[in-house]
Symmetry: C2
Subunit: 166 residues, 2 copies
DNA sequence: CTTAACTAGTTGAACCTTTAACCACCGTAC
DNA sequence: GTACGGTGGTTAAAGGTTCAACTAGTTAAG
């Protein structure tokens, strides 16, 4: 039973349609990241998070960002980023340098090798995003979907720290 | 630059709207599971995956499932499930017994304590799902959203191994 | 009935993420 | 100028997940 059982007075349970939607979303929440990771790991030897770090740096002015900005743009904690950047630095794709304006801050800089890594990796990743997210929906559906996702994201992440938010 | 740079001939890049939708979705893919984990961890001391395991067992006939079925229903690998069930067994919420029909198989069974754990935990979890997913959308929007998610899930997981699929 | 191939599940090691503690620096107030 | 709360970042330890190897049982073929 579970979702349909005995405590209706305290918490309203989900009806059949709501539960079906939620089960699907829960599935997508697991399976889509896994699919993206699989492609990137197989074709480029990087995780999705590592790719996001490189990609956000590649979009930044001077290919440079503060660690904390980068963490937000890549949707990760500062600690996680610190570990990941250490690995990316060992692979020669990122360099760290102290920030001149603020002695506490560290700038992460994409190296030339890192830039080339992004250029080589992006097409396969974009193709995957296309085939799994963009192409299965019509343009109108995709726009509608983007709006709905935006509504939910605003609820989950009210501070609007995510890129792409309204 | 990144998504808009130089290789248009090989891979079609995302236009501004597509990219915005994708960035939002990528944000939701990170933030929503994190929010659910936070609530469950704080209020019940279990991860979302552990809760899913308990919940799926609570819905099953005899509160019993084969490990491999349970792994599919909970959207996890068999190895992951095996580790998690070991922990849940130590906490007294699940019991493992060899399957009579097939000597290779193992049945996971929800104990009485496990059942009570689900009953105590479900209301808070459902309330969180409501507040983050169900309530922010109108019923019509939610239904539409469920359809769109279903379309994407069918693409990501063509074998329909997820619960709630069309 | 014996071998081969496959399925179900477990396990240990490697790896990644989180948590909490920590250092260094900035800004403000006294 | 110096004491103090707050910010930016790193790190070690703990905990969870994945990967690959392994055991045991089943099924099919010869």
């Amino acid at each position: 039973m579970a979702y349909t059982g005995g405590v209706e007075s305290e918490a309203p349970w989900l009806d059949a349609d709501q539960q079906r939607t939620w089960l699907r979303l829960a599935g997508l929440l697991i399976k889509l990241p896994a699919a993206l990771d699989t492609q990137l790991q197989r074709d480029a030897g990087v995780s999705h998070f590592e790719y996001m770090v490189l990609s956000r740096l590649s979009e930044a002015p001077n290919r440079t960002l503060r660690m904390s900005q980068l963490a937000e743009l890549a949707n990760g904690s500062l600690s996680r980023l610190s570990h990941v950047v250490k690995r990316l630095e060992l692979r020669g794709w990122v360099r760290r340098e102290p920030c001149a304006e603020d002695g506490r801050a560290t700038n992460a800089v994409l190296t030339e090798d890192g830039w080339e890594k992004v250029v080589r990796t992006a097409p396969g990743h974009v193709a995957t995003v296309r085939s799994l997210v963009v192409d299965p929906l019509t343009p109108a559906e995709l726009a509608r979907f983007g709006d709905l996702v935006g509504t939910l994201l605003a609820k989950v992440d009210p501070d609007e720290t995510c890129p792409g938010q309204p």
